[in-house]
Every structure is written in structure tokens, then in C-alpha cells.
């Protein structure tokens, strides 16, 4: 209902400058406290891989709460109450279909939005034998692709990721150091999620140029210091990344305005349902068979006509005809 009310009131109040409004969003000039709790759960019928991915993600989110499998696939609005029950304002719901397809619902609970993704290419931490590791519950750096700022729907998705995967400052089980990056990149219309460990390595003296070039001018004095005196004591380290896992690729399907409900405000036209993909494959296979059967049919038909014709011609000279 809240969503409907919002949509109604929206027409009255025209939004011209989004940036301005966003800045006004923070009350009293200060920023509001980032309080996030994520309810992580799946539907029934997830495969082991889906389950392991869920466990991996749950391990990465100290502000998450894992719940038992949710029974229904049609009454997703019930998740709102469930989230309220657990005091969560985010829901990460894994919906498995046909025991193979995984859809991930990311929802901001009281009043939306909800983003539905199709997850592909899932690789859990366990099966990827990467050497990276990090503290359980350390706050990740979130690295977003530049494309995330280009379109409104990507901005919404980015914000959802930011609130779900970003561990809020001072979260109860979080650890004080930062040792991993989660990266979200957009390629081929899909969002690729990776998780890397940050390793600090001794910087090679020759390659100091590679460091700090990309750092914006406004940000830091430490990098300047490093530039100026490359042999400065502690800070003379470079970062390198080692992948940890898991890996997965998300295709956005739909964005709803409300939490598991409300009007659809975005629909991905490039998304193809996996069912359709499979059916096309089957059809492609079937065409071969069909062509063959058609050929057989044609041949039989021809044969029939020929024999019929032959019969007709023969009939004139048949003894029955002659001596009738």
C-alpha cells in the first residue's frame, strides 16, 4: 500500500533535480546511521550449489541472518512479515525453479524496491580452489563498475548491492580491518560479482609509477608522501589482489517499486528465460528429426503415387480388362 501511496503522491510532486534531493535526504545535514540487516533465505528445491552459495554469502555478511527455507514461491509478500519478525530491512531470497534455475530476489523490505535477478555461473568458494582468504566479517570495499552510474536502473541495483553486501560500520559481528574487495562489473548486460582478498606486498622500487596514478587528486596525503619519498617506512607497500570466491553472474530481470510487490518500474528486455533457452535448444534438435521424417514421408508419398500410376497403366492391358 505504501508503494501505491508513493506512486500517487509522486505525480503531484515533480522531481527535477535528483542529485539535490538525494543530498537533502540526509536529515539535519548529518548522515543517517547505516543500519542494515539482511534476511538470507532460499525457497525449497535449491540444489547443493545454490545452498553452498547461500552459505558463502551468509558467511560474508555478518549483518545477515540466515533463515530456514521458505515454503512458498507464489506468496513472496509473506517475506515482508518474516523480515519484520527478524528485524531485517533487507531480504536476499534465493528462488530455485525446476531444481536448476536460480533467481535471486534482493529487496528492501518495508517499502521497496525489489530487484529480481537470474543467477548463472555459480561457483562457490569451496569449489574454486583460490588461495585468497580474509577475515570472517571484515567490512568489504565495494567496487562498482562505472556503468552503474549510467542508467537509473543500474543506480538502483547499485544502491541495493551497497546496502546488502556493504557491512555497515560498527556492525555487531564485524571485524575492524579491511582485507577484501567485492567487485561488481557490468559486461554483456549482466552483473559479474567477484570477491578478492587485498594483500599488501612489498613494493618493488622500480614500479612506483604504477602506484597512485589512479588515485584522485583530492583524496590523500599518504599517496603523495609515498610519491615524494618512496622509501617511507611503513607505507611503502603496494596492494595486490587474490581471488577468494564465490563467483556468480546476475542478470537483472525486473525491478518492482515495492517490497515483493508493487508496480514494475523496470523490465530487462535482454533477459531470456532459461526455459526459453532450453526449449530453443530442444527445438533446434527437433528440427533435424522433423526434416528427416518429412523426407521419409515425401518419399513414401512419391512411391505411392508411382505405384498407383503404374497400376492404372497396367490395368488397360490386364487380362481382366482385355477379356472382360
Amino acid at each position: 500500500m505504501a508503494a501505491v501511496y508513493k506512486s500517487l503522491s509522486k505525480s503531484a510532486k515533480k522531481v527535477e533535480d535528483h542529485e539535490e534531493n538525494e543530498n537533502n535526504n540526509a536529515p539535519n545535514g548529518g548522515f543517517r546511521k547505516n543500519k542494515q540487516r539482511v534476511l538470507i533465505l532460499s525457497s525449497r528445491g535449491v540444489t547443493y550449489r545454490h545452498r553452498h552459495l547461500l552459505n558463502d554469502l551468509a558467511a560474508m555478511l555478518p549483518h545477515g541472518r540466515k533463515d530456514v527455507k521458505f515454503d512458498s514461491k507464489s506468496k513472496l509478500y509473506q517475506l515482508n512479515e518474516l523480515a519484520e519478525l527478524y528485524n531485517c530491512n533487507n531480504v536476499m531470497f534465493f528462488e530455485a525453479r525446476k531444481g536448476k534455475d536460480l533467481y535471486m530476489w534482493f529487496s528492501k523490505v518495508p517499502n521497496g524496491p525489489t530487484v529480481k535477478f537470474h543467477a548463472q555461473n555459480l561457483h562457490t568458494m569451496e569449489e574454486l580452489h583460490f588461495t585468497g582468504n580474509c577475515l570472517k566479517g571484515s567490512r568489504p570495499l565495494l567496487s562498482f563498475d562505472g556503468t552503474f552510474e549510467s542508467e537509473p536502473h543500474y543506480r538502483v541495483i547499485k544502491e541495493v548491492f551497497l546496502q546488502m553486501f556493504g557491512v555497515p560500520q560498527g556492525a555487531r559481528k564485524s571485524k575492524p580491518f579491511i582485507d577484501h574487495v567485492m567487485s561488481f562489473s557490468i559486461a554483456d548486460g549482466k552483473i559479474w560479482v567477484r570477491n578478492y582478498e587485498i594483500r599488501e606486498v612489498e613494493k618493488v622500487k622500480g614500479e612506483k609509477d604504477s602506484e597512485g596514478n589512479d588515485i584522485p587528486a583530492a583524496d590523500d596525503k599518504s599517496s603523495k608522501k609515498r610519491k615524494g619519498a618512496p622509501n617511507a617506512e611503513l607505507k611503502d607497500t603496494d596492494v595486490s589482489l587474490v581471488e577468494i570466491g564465490p563467483r556468480f553472474v546476475l542478470t537483472p530481470i525486473v525491478i518492482q517499486e515495492g517490497a515483493f510487490g508493487g508496480p514494475i518500474i523496470y523490465e530487462n528486455k535482454r533477459f531470456i528465460s532459461p526455459n526459453q533457452v532450453r526449449s530453443e535448444l530442444r527445438k533446434a534438435k527437433a528440427t533435424r528429426h522433423n526434416a528427416r521424417t518429412e523426407q521419409v514421408k515425401e518419399r513414401l508419398g512419391k512411391l505411392e503415387t508411382i505405384t498407383a500410376q503404374a497400376k492404372k497403366e497396367k490395368d488397360l492391358l490386364d487380362t481382366k480388362e482385355l477379356f472382360a
Binding site: K10, D145, S183, Y196, E267
Partner: protein, 433 residues
Amino acid sequence: MPRQSTRTKKPATKAVEPEKVEKVVEEKPQKEQKKRGRKPKQPVAEATPVEDKMEVEEEEEIQIKADEQQPEQQEEAGSDSEEGSDEEEGDDIDLNALDESDSDSEFERDLNEKQSAAGIQANKYTKQKAEESSDDEDDEDEIDIDELDVEGEEGEEVKAISKARQTINNKQGLLTALKRFALDTSDKVPFAFHQSIVAKKATEESIPSIDDDLARELAFMNQALEAARIGRALLRKEGVPFTRPTDYFAETLRSDETMEKVKAKLIEEATAKKASAEARKQRDLKKFGKQVQVAKQQERAKQKRDTLEKINLLKKKRKDGGGPTGANEAEDLFDVAVDNELKGAAGSKKRGRDGKESGGPNAKRQRKDAKFGFGGKKKYLKSNDALSSGDVSGFSARKMKSGGGAGGPGKPKKFKPAPRPGKARRKASAGKR
């Protein structure tokens, strides 16, 4: 790092497969969307099937990726049939009735404009545009036609409509939704509050092909690396602890057990690599083993010869010196030894030149040994192996064609023996004898 990159390769290859599948059937969703998209446009589409067809064609042109023939054909077939059905409907049913079947807003508009606008295509476009804009107002702009609200100019109308597919992308709605729940990530708040970094560049630009796993993963990693650098700098500036001290122990994301497994796997891989290298080396050695053996034998023979020579020399000197003075004997002996020591190598060489026995047995024998083998295993020496059976250099199709395969491929046919006469002739000739 190189290890890392090679390791990443395998899972990534696996990862691409679904995408490939998808690409093959890339066409399909557009077809579906066409189906979906047609519904609201019905009054126009049905009034002029020609225009509809044009639109379909244009849409096919716009397709994002050029695809294989087969799906395209299928799609064409599919869209054709749709058109057919549309045309039929258009023929059968009155325009008025059609409009009534549509939504309210369209109905209103159509009653006003239908009669005048029915004929000309250009008019159609403007009319549809008008309809859609009215739709927006009526329906609280919840559903827009993609791109229409962006490209509002009159000149671009035709293009825009031909492109338009009825998927929902309500930008305004998205922005308001975003505004409602977005966290403040501007410069005013400390970076540690959100810890998110948006790259300036689009990562996709640095990916040459989405199927190229290595390049793709590298692009992702570069994005993350840049973010890590910036983030570290920002966090240090804010005084947030970044690096984990070495004496800080806590539970890690992946258990020690898993890491142990990973380590074991790495070690296993390394040993396997080493073992395979060793095996290859051994194989190569085996290939040259024969030569090595022969060389060693020759060397041994040479050594033996040298010592024998030395002894002979010693004997000779002894014989020469032994006559006149017996007291000198010891000294002489010593001298010889020194002599030997000094010009051992040179002497042997000299002797080797004039002496017959320098190179072991005579040259002929040596050559024969080389040819037929001397010592060593004779078994399987002449049996075929993979290399020899694979060697078809002696084969010539021309020779095979000329007949006489039994004569051997290499043998030139100078004369043909007279072919065996036939049975009758043979009998006849036998009778003559």
C-alpha cells in the same frame, strides 16, 4: 601471480557456457517482446499491416548481435505468422469495435482522431505518439515506452517508434525509488561509512570479448585493484585501521580445513608438473641412450689403451736404462713416471696418429658396428614403432596406381616380367610339351 592466472582459467571456462547458449537464441526474447509489445499499439497496427511489417523489419535490423542463420529464419517465420493473424483481425473487425476493446484512454483518443488519421502513415506515427503521451498522463506515468520519454523531439519520432519495444523502463519511477532508500555516499560523509567506490571507466570497454576468460577476469580484477588502492588511501586518510596486524588472529572466511585442501591441491599440481618434466627428460635421455652408451664404451677403451701404452713405455725405458746402471734404476723409474705425467696426453695423441689401434677396431668394423649394432639389445630392434609406422614418406600414390604394389614402393620398374598366361593357355602349352 602467473599461477593465479592459470588457476583462474579453469572455472571461468566452465562459466562461459551458459552465455554461449544464450547467444545462440538471442533473437527469441525480441520476438516475445514483439508479441507483448504489439498489444497496446493494436489500433494502429491493425489498421495498416504494411506499417507493422516495416516495423518488424526495422526491429530485426536493430538487433544487438548478428546471429546464426537458423534462429533468424525461425524468427522470421514466427513474425510472419503473427502478421498474418493481425491482418486477418484487421480485415474482419471494424475499427470502432477494435478501439472499444482497448483501454479507456486509447479509446477516447481514437474516437477523436481515428477517421482523419486512418490513411497516412506519417499521421499514424504522430497519432500513436500522442496516444502514448496521453497514456503517460493517465496512468501516472508508471509505464513508459522505452526511450520515448527520452527522445521527445518530433523529428525523431519515426525512428523512436520503430525502435520501441514495450518493455518497462520507468526512469522517473526508478529515480524516485532510488531517492527513497539511497544512502548518502557523497563527499560529505566519511568514506568509511559506505566504503564503496565507483570506477570512472566502464569495465566492459576493457574486455575485448566476453568469451575470453582471461581478459575478462583481468578486467574485473583491475577494476577491483584500482578500487582497493583508492579505498586504502581514503581509509588511511581517515585513520581507519586497514592492514591486519600479524598478531591478530580471528576466524577467517574460509576455514583452515579448506585452505589446507587448497594448499594440498597446489602442491599436488606442482609435483605433477615436476614429475611430468622429469618423465619427459627421461624419455629424451632414452632416445639418446644408445649414443651415450657407445660413447662411453669408446671412452673406456681409450682409457684402457692409454694405460697400456704407458706401461709399455715404462717397460721400454726400463729395458733401455736397465743395462748400464743398476743403481740408476729407481731414479729412472721415477723419471718415467714424471715423463708420463708431463706428456701423457700429447704422447697418446701422437701415438694415435701413427698407431693403428687408436680408434679401437678398424674403420670398416666400426662402420659395420654402427650399421648393424654391436652389443646391446637386439630384440625389437627392427620392429615398428609409432614413428616408423607413421612415416609414409616412402608411399607414392602414383606408384600405387601404376600397379605392381608387390614390387615394393621404392623399386623402379625397369621391365615387367611377362604376365602369367591364362589357364586355358597354360593348359594348351602344357599339352604341347
